[in-house]
Symmetry: C3
Subunit: 350 residues, 3 copies
Amino acid sequence: MYPFEDGQTFPRNHWYIAACSHELGRALFERTILEERLVFYRKEDGTPVALDGICPHRNLPMAQGMLEGDAVRCGYHGFRFEADGRCTNIPSQSAVPASFATRSYPVLERWQWIWVWMGDPAQADPALLPDMDVAGLGAPGWRADSNGVVHLKSRFSLLIDNLMDLSHIAFVHVKTIGKQLTEAAEVTEENGRVHVIRCTPDQPAEGFHRFLHPRCPGPVDLTTRSDFLGPGLICAGGPYSVMSGTGEPVGRLNFVHGLTPETRHSTHYFPAVSRDFRLDDDGLSQALLGKERSVLAEDIAALEQVEIVVQRQGDTRRELSVLADAGAIRVRRRLIAMMKAELQGAPDLS
Amino acid sequence: MYPFEDGQTFPRNHWYIAACSHELGRALFERTILEERLVFYRKEDGTPVALDGICPHRNLPMAQGMLEGDAVRCGYHGFRFEADGRCTNIPSQSAVPASFATRSYPVLERWQWIWVWMGDPAQADPALLPDMDVAGLGAPGWRADSNGVVHLKSRFSLLIDNLMDLSHIAFVHVKTIGKQLTEAAEVTEENGRVHVIRCTPDQPAEGFHRFLHPRCPGPVDLTTRSDFLGPGLICAGGPYSVMSGTGEPVGRLNFVHGLTPETRHSTHYFPAVSRDFRLDDDGLSQALLGKERSVLAEDIAALEQVEIVVQRQGDTRRELSVLADAGAIRVRRRLIAMMKAELQGAPDLS
Amino acid sequence: MYPFEDGQTFPRNHWYIAACSHELGRALFERTILEERLVFYRKEDGTPVALDGICPHRNLPMAQGMLEGDAVRCGYHGFRFEADGRCTNIPSQSAVPASFATRSYPVLERWQWIWVWMGDPAQADPALLPDMDVAGLGAPGWRADSNGVVHLKSRFSLLIDNLMDLSHIAFVHVKTIGKQLTEAAEVTEENGRVHVIRCTPDQPAEGFHRFLHPRCPGPVDLTTRSDFLGPGLICAGGPYSVMSGTGEPVGRLNFVHGLTPETRHSTHYFPAVSRDFRLDDDGLSQALLGKERSVLAEDIAALEQVEIVVQRQGDTRRELSVLADAGAIRVRRRLIAMMKAELQGAPDLS
C-alpha cells in the first residue's frame, strides 16, 4: 500500500500508544488499533489491561459488557474473561473448557501514555519502547505536556512524510508559522532512527525565539530537527537555541507526535509539547499547546485531502521526489524493512 | 458467508413473509427480499400480487409507476404488465412481442402475513408453508397479535443464533427480563424442525407467570422453548405453564419471530405474540406486544453490533462454541443442507 | 460496463464541456471529469487553463494552492507549475529537474462553455468539436441561453438513452409536458451523428406551439428531433414548426444537452435552450429556461433511480428492447465503436 510495497500496511512488532493515561479507568474503553478492535480497562490496582475487543464466542464487542473485579463479562451470553485472557465462567454450563481464552495484549504505562504491543507477544520487550528521554518526555530537566488525542482520517505514513519534511511549513502553516526553511537539511540515520537537522546561525533574538526567551539578548544559532524515533513516535524539535559563538544553551523545545495506525486509512494522533526551560510556567505550557493545536489543524486538513487522493488512485500513480524528501524516504525504507523482517518472522532491531 | 459455507447466503425454496397484510393495498409497495427488489399490490378483488420490482425494459423501479386495474404501468416509457407478468401494452408501438414479460412471484396470504416464494416457482407448494398452528397463529383456541415489521441491520442467521440460544436472556435482557436459564436444554430435531426445550419444575406462582395468570395458586412447572419451524419462522415459546404434579395446563405463550432476509446483511423482522388463555383481554395483548418491542430493541442493538464485527472480519475468524449453542448449530446445519440441496436442483423437504 | 461492453466506460478522444464560461476566473476551480481531478483557472489575459488537479509531488489537490500570475503554486510544499504544466520553482531547493512537470490538458472556449480534451493531446483538434451551429449555439439567426450546470448521479449513457427515446415524455413528464408521441420515428446516421425524427402534420395552432408563436394561424407541421452530435452533446429539437402545405418556416426550438461524465456513475449536465425566433424576447428565454429546469428535474429523478438499479445488478441483467429504442441503440453502438478504436490507438472520426 502506498507509500510502501504491495500488501504492506504497518509494522506490528513495536510499541504503539494506545491511549492517554487519563482515558483508562474502571470503565470498558474500546479503541481500534492496527485494524483490531481492543477493549481497555484498569484492574482494581490500576494496572492497565488490553484484551481482544470482540468476544470469541459470538462476536459481540466486549465494551458492551461489564467489569467484574479484574475480569470482564461479555454482554451477550455472559462469558467472563480474566485480564490474562483466560475464560473463567460460562453461565450456561458448569465447566469451562481449558482452551477457552481471548487474546490479551501486552501493555505498559509510560509517561502519560498507555502503550500496547500488537505483534508477537513473545517479543514485547519494554526495552523496545522508543526513547522518550530524547523527546523530553519524563526526562530530568524537562517539562512535558500532553495535548490529548486527535483522530486523523489519513494513513499514518502521510503524517510521517509530513513531519519528516518541514519544508511544508511556509505553505501549509503560512497563517500560523509561515517561516521558510531555506537552510540545507542534514539527514542521518543510526540505530533505526532517522534525523533531519537544519541549523541557522547568527539570528537576532526576535519572533518566536523572543516569545520563548524574552530576556535572551541574542544573537542565537537556531536548530530545527525531525527525529524519527520509531514507527509511532516522531519528535519535531525546534527551536533548539544556543548563543552564537559561545554555543551556550538557551533552551530546547519539542513538538512531539505520537502516531498509531487505527486502520490502514486512519490514525490516532497523540501530540505533546516538551521543553527544558521555564519549567514552572503553566501559562507558557498552555500557549504552546494551543499553538500546537492550531498548527495540527492545518496539517490534518491537508493530510485528509491527500488520503482521499491516494485512496482513489491506489498504487498506480507515480510521484516526483526532491531533496527535501530525503528524510521521509529514509523512514519509508526503514518501515519497509521492518515489515519485511516481520514477514520472515525475525525481529528487526537494527 | 458466515456462519455458513463459502458463497452460501440464504435458502430460496421456502415461503418467506414479505409483508403484513395491512401493508398491501391499491398502491404500489416496494420491498427488497433475498436481495431482489419486488413490487407488491392487491388486485381489485384484493388478491395480493408480487412482481419484479424493476422494469425489464429500461430498469426504472416499477413502484414509480401506476396501477391500472389489475395491471401495473411503468413510469418511464409506460409498458403495462399484468399480475401474471405478461406485458400487454407498449405505448410507442402497436404490437407487443409475445415473449415480453416480467417476473411474477408466487404469493399467499396466511394469518396476517403475505408470504412470497423466491425460489423455483414450480416448487411453490402452499403445503410447504411453515406450521403456523404450532406457533398459535390462527389456530383454534389461540389468540395471536402481530407486532408489525422492524428493520434489522444484521444477517438473518444472527437472529436465528440469538433465538435458538436463550441463555442470552440474563445478559442482553438484564433490564427487561433478566431471568437466568440454568436448566439443561434438550435439543431435538424432526421433519426439518429443531426444538430447544428447558423445563423448570415446581416454581411458585410469581413474577411473569403471576402477571399472566393472577389467580393461579401454583406451584407450576414452566417450560421455555425455541422452535425452528423453517428458515423464516421461529417460535420462542414460554412460559408454557402447567400445575406441578397434576400437569394440568395453565396457559401457553409464544413470542413468534418471522424473519426474512432483505440482503445478505439485513433482515425484515416480523414479530408477533400468541397465547391460549385470556383470549379476549385486549389490554394483555397490548402489554405483551409492548414487552416484546422492548426486548426486541435490546436484541437488535446487540445483533447490529455483531453484524458490523462479522462483516469486517469476513470468514477468517474462528469462534468458540459451548453446549448452549447446540440448537443454533443444528439449525445452521439444516440451513447449510437446504442451500446445498438447492444448488443440486433438488428440493430439500426432509 | 452497462450498457457497453466489459471494461468500457466512456470515450476519451473527444471534446467535453468542462465548465460554463462564467465558472472560471482568477480563482482555482476543481472539477472531476472522466474520473480525473482537474484544476481550472484563467490566465491574466483570460485564457482558460486546465491542469492535473493533484500535485505530482505529494498529492495535495492543487485547488488548495494559489495562483501566481499565470502559474499555480501547490499549498503543501510550494511547487510552482506554469499553465503548460512545467514546474518552475521548488522552494526547498535552487534547481528544478528538467523533467518535472504536471499534466496540462487542451482547453477551448466556445459559445458559453469551456471544453476540455481528456484523451491523447496529439489528437486534440478544434475541428473535432461537435457542431454547435446545428444546435443553434452561437449560430447566426439564433439566440441561445445557458441553463448552467446540474449534477446528475447517473452514468452519462442513461441520459443519452433518455434523450434518444422521447417516448418517455408521456410518462416521465406527464405533469410538465405529457404529450404522447405516437408518430413513427425515422432514425438516420451520418458522419458519426444519429438522428431520430418524428413529424406530425396538420396540427392546429394551439398548446405549446401557440405559446411560442401566438400569431401563427396554423395549421402547422410539427417536427421533433433527437440529434446525437457527439458523446457530449445532444440536441433535442422541437417543435420545429412549418406552415402545413406551404412548408413556410415558423420557428425552430432546441433543448440542448451538454453531458460530461464525472465518474462512471455520475455526470455533469449542461442544459441550454436555443431558438431562431423572437430573438429579443428575454421573457421568453426565462420561461423556456424555467420549463427546461422543471422537465430536467423529472428526468434526473428517474435516471438516478435507474443508476441505483444498474449499479446493483451489475452487467448480469438482460433488458428488453423495442422499436423506440432504435436511436439509442445506434448511439450505444457508435460509443462502443469509439471506445474500441481508442483501445487500438486509432482515432475514430467516422
